[in-house]
Symmetry: C2
Subunit: 218 residues, 2 copies
């Protein structure tokens, strides 16, 4: 009994309804933040009222958690297959970074909320410290970072990457890419070409940051 509608005769319809709520909420959270966005505002953006939202979610926080889950799920779907391939770590990592950043730009609201929103204003203040859901989200983020750390480690062992701790290197690596959520303003109509040029510049920057200037290949 996770909520009122998930275990019904038409679970796919419920999924769609929840997805629409998640999208609307993410749009507003991105612009105004979590606490400054009212449930009524989310409903109004959907052309509905609170009743619709509370029929699918029992609280505002659950919507927030669902945004996180959606964001992480989408990231895994795009990046994990690449990580599992064989081949030179440098190539894999570059394509992983491209997939990550591309998704970041294409579903900015969800990803921005997910990446900047994991703050304490929910957990410290409310009773979410021991939440099962919270632990799940944190585990997802850790696993995701670990996926990159392993490829970086593999590259370091072959000598193409610098020899700092992989865990420490992932920080600026993600910083280079995730910082788009701070400075990039999605245009009305964002051309693929626009996105691709940003991806290219940032991914190459991130890769140069890892590479060892002295270490030749092999």
């Amino acid at each position: 009994m996770d909520n009122a509608a998930t275990d019904q005769a038409h679970p796919d319809a419920a999924k769609d309804a929840k997805a629409e709520i998640v999208r609307a909420a993410a749009d507003l959270f991105m612009d105004y933040g979590y606490t400054a966005t009212s449930i009524d505002a989310i409903a109004e953006k959907m052309g509905a009222t609170k009743g619709r939202i509370y029929h699918y979610y029992r609280s505002k926080a659950q919507i927030f958690f669902d945004i996180q889950r959606t964001a992480m799920t989408n990231l895994f779907r795009a990046v994990e297959p690449i990580a599992r391939e064989s081949g030179p770590p440098e190539d894999r990592l570059r394509r992983m970074a491209w997939a990550h950043l591309s998704l970041m730009l294409r579903e900015m609201p969800i990803q921005k909320v997910a990446v900047q929103g994991l703050e304490k204003y929910l957990f410290e203040a409310e009773g979410f410290r021991h939440s099962k859901t919270l632990a799940e989200i944190n585990a997802l983020r850790d696993d995701y970072e670990q996926m990159f750390a392993e490829v970086i480690d593999a590259g370091a062992r072959t000598g193409v990457f610098v020899n700092d701790s992989p865990r420490l290197l992932t920080k600026p690596f993600f910083g280079t890419m995730n910082w788009v959520t701070v400075w990039y303003r999605p245009r009305r109509i964002q051309s693929d070409e626009d996105i691709n040029s940003i991806c290219s510049a940032l991914v190459e920057y991130a890769m140069r940051g890892l590479r060892d200037p002295n270490g030749g290949a092999s």
Copy 2:
């Protein structure tokens, strides 16, 4: 008549009082966000009540703006002298980055609020779109970024940096450094050694991202 206390006989005392408010507010904004932090909570953290705060600030938003101003002022004080020196752009930039990041880590609350907090939840919702203060803050941020862009441009002309647009290169450059405000959790007792090792790793990463792998030093 900026506020009630600035043009009095003891402006320095008022400055101290305001600085204490700014610090307390930044601490709470960092953890809970702007809207989720009540004026009463800020007052309580100072061992006082609202009266004390509203004696120096006429609104919550003014406190927020003062945090931004303080953060930018401190950054300029630390970085601008280095930018004005002569010498190889690469050396100057590295030391500018170090100063920037060092300050970032040492006054995390103020800097984190300043760097991540310039959101719309104030301006779109309220009547702050045409605020004089807001324009001033934005100008400061632009000038600050421009300072780095110029040094990067100088380095690109000597051939040590890659040839992308300086404006585009500053994004991942700041991303590498400012992302600490997302992942770094200030320890109870943060040793200088701790901070220095982080500075070193991130600054070197940021510099490698700029450097042209093919371009030897002029």
